[in-house]
């Protein structure tokens, strides 16, 4: 356990530059539609890093309360080790105003938006038995395996602990 903690501390203290746009991160000013293939591709390209997939929606107040903590984690951790992969579960047809909403409340959040007909179709790529409760987060280890499913808003300390457990 000491080694992961040390790595996490190192990540906190040795990050020498603000996290910019990684090569696989799009402009936070837009919401990129995400279908099943896009999700698979994003997960695949993220292997080698610990990934936190966060499912949120504009109508889910606990989700909105959680996002600042996730952004804080993203800012703390080097992009080479950690990726926050946020996906809005709002209707893809609502992309325009969800973008407007996100721009107002979470301008730095890089997020996708569900482009499938329903939430389950997309999320079943990760979790075939998701029960459509929000917020839900999945933590992937560096090998691209889901090592933790988190439902409900959790404090930032909880996420830090889980990321360490996932090998960060």
């Amino acid at each position: 356990m000491m080694r992961p903690i040390a790595r996490l501390l190192a990540a906190f203290t040795l990050a020498v530059a603000p996290v910019g746009l990684a090569s696989d991160q799009h402009d936070p000013g837009i919401l990129v539609p995400m279908d099943r293939d896009t999700l698979r591709g994003e997960l695949s390209s993220s292997e080698g890093r610990v990934v936190l997939v966060n499912l949120w929606a504009t109508w889910c107040t606990p989700c909105l309360r959680e996002i600042p903590d996730l952004l804080a984690l993203e800012a703390e951790l080097p992009a080479s080790d950690f990726r926050l992969l946020a996906i809005s579960m709002d209707d893809a047809y609502s992309e325009g105003w969800v973008t407007e909403f996100k721009g107002k409340h979470f301008p730095t959040l890089v997020s996708f938006i569900n482009a499938e007909l329903d939430m389950d179709t997309l999320v079943s790529v990760i979790d075939p038995v998701w029960n459509e409760t929000l917020p839900t987060s999945y933590i992937f280890n560096r090998e691209g395996e889901v090592v933790k499913k988190v439902q409900g808003k959790k404090p930032i300390a909880f996420f830090r602990e889980q990321l360490v457990a996932a090998g960060l």
Binding site: C60, Y93, E100, H105, E116, D120, W130, N131, L134, K154
Partner: protein, 485 residues
């Protein structure tokens, strides 16, 4: 088991039936020819046996094909529209009345806001509420009409579903969530609206707002620019024409993020409503949905999800035995405590059989997460230990339940080992036993959110969302005497 469950059969099953039918004459001729040959007389018995087997299979398919025509689904909404969250009711003349959210044309971005009173908020969903009816003898549903007066006034998601009920006088009652602006704060809110039709669905009256206007701006709590929400509605009508409406209400909400349960009743078929009643203080899950059902002359039940202890989302049912004048304490329907600081969005479906109240609700703390069925005698409101309605499901959700006499029908969406599908299950003895789980053969389609109703002649109506089209079909209960555990 399939023969006596009417189902929407797929093309492959019809083809199989046709092939079997073609084989009947061939098998008959073969058997007769063989019987004419002396050396084959000894085999006559076995030939007849084979013939009867093939004929029985063919008859099986004929029954299935006949059932197909009785049970094939029809579309209530247009194929080029994006429809969500169906609800159905049936009037005494057998007409099926369906409502749903219309999110716009396929390929068309969501419209910008149309609040009652103007303004916009960020929990946006500028949908319409559409209505159509299926008159007995007609091939399908009528052209749909919009219930909300102005386009885009409905706060419509799959999880903020509209509700519909029909009373014994043929009136149709609808409650739906709408966008609005509180005149007291000038802030954007979501409110509950009621409308009715007294002419069998030809026209609907101007909707009225059920909830009082909130006078506090809770934008900082709710976030997203929505200052208050009085939504997640339920409706039930009594045999005497009383209309009971309920909703979850953020008035009085504090940092603990708990809603109140409100109630409003009409005793004259929806012409006038009594003042709203704050039925439960702020101890309710604000996005857990509510439902209501009546029983007999004066019993009324309302389900909600109370927040107990450390964010435990506990499904409860309250009973009134005086037509809503007073309610007993909430009774828990049981199951593993589900701790969650989030949006469960899980309805407790209810139905009544003589002397019994039945509940069906998702529990995310079960492994795997799924629907739990429980029942209680109406007189004492103590639910028996719940059981999984679909033990083989990897996850099950979105319950609906109705009854005719002692026959109970539950429907839900679930996943077993493939795409999500609609499942249903009958009980013929008031919930003591259930017949095996049945599935609609919807293939790879995106399906979910079933809704149920009953007809005056003892049939069941099932509606669901399939690839953003609302589908409706009849279901018939199987014959008595085949109950299985």
């Amino acid at each position: 088991m399939v023969a006596y469950h009417t189902q929407r059969l797929g093309r492959a099953q019809l083809s199989r039936g046709a092939r079997l039918l073609k084989r009947v004459p061939a098998a008959l001729l073969s058997a007769l020819n063989r019987a004419m040959q002396p050396e084959h007389r000894d085999s006559l018995k076995s030939s007849c046996s084979r013939f009867l087997t093939v004929a029985a299979a063919a008859m099986f398919s004929i029954v299935g094909a006949t059932a197909l025509h009785a049970a094939e689904s029809v579309s209530a909404s247009a194929a080029d529209r994006r429809a969500q969250a169906p609800a159905v009711a049936v009037t005494k003349d057998g007409t099926v009345h369906a409502i749903w959210f219309d999110k716009g044309a396929v390929g068309e971005a969501d419209r910008k806001g149309a609040h009652v009173g103007g303004g916009r908020h960020s929990h946006q969903a500028f949908a319409d509420l559409r209505y159509a009816r299926w008159v007995p003898g007609e091939a399908g549903f009528s052209e749909s009409i919009r219930i909300n007066p102005e386009p885009g006034q409905v706060w419509g998601f799959s999880i903020s579903r509209p509700v519909i009920a029909a009373d014994s006088e043929g009136r149709i009652h609808i409650v739906y969530p709408g966008n609005g602006t509180s005149p007291k704060t000038g802030k954007s809110v979501a409110s509950s609206f009621y409308s009715r039709s007294i002419d069998g669905g030809q026209q609907f009256e101007e909707p009225i707002q059920l909830n009082g206007d909130p006078d506090e701006d809770l934008s900082a709590l709710i976030m997203g620019g929505l200052a208050q929400a009085q939504v997640f509605t339920a409706i039930a009508v009594s045999e005497q024409g009383a209309v009971h409406t309920f909703w979850l209400d953020t008035r009085g909400m504090t940092e603990s993020m708990r809603a109140a349960l409100y109630y409003r009743r009409s005793d004259d078929g929806g012409a006038r409503f009594e003042e709203e009643v704050r039925l439960q203080e702020n101890d309710q899950c604000p996005c857990c949905q509510v439902s209501a059902v009546t029983s007999g002359q004066s019993s009324l039940f309302v389900s909600a999800r109370q927040i107990t202890g450390d964010n435990i989302r506990t499904p409860t049912v309250m009973h009134s035995d005086d037509n809503g004048a007073s309610f007993g304490a909430p009774a828990e329907t049981g199951g593993t405590p589900w701790r969650l600081e989030g949006c469960p969005l899980k309805l407790t479906a209810m139905a009544t059989t003589p002397d019994t109240i039945h509940s069906l609700v998702h529990n995310g703390a079960e492994d795997p997460p799924g629907l739990l069925y429980a029942r209680s005698a109406q007189r004492d409101m103590r639910f028996l230990p719940p059981q999984k309605i679909h033990p083989e499901a990897a996850v099950s959700d979105s319950p609906a339940m109705v009854s005719i006499g002692d026959t109970l029908l539950a429907a839900w969406h679930a996943k077993v080992d493939g795409p999500r599908r609609i499942f249903y299950r009958f009980s013929l003895d008031g919930g003591e036993n259930f017949l095996p789980v049945q599935a609609l053969p919807t293939g790879e389609a995106s399906v979910g959110y079933p809704a149920l109703a009953t007809t005056p002649d003892g049939r069941f109506v099932l509606a669901w969302q399939e690839n953003e089209v609302i589908q409706v079909m009849y279901l018939d209960a199987p014959p008595q005497g085949v109950a299985l555990r």
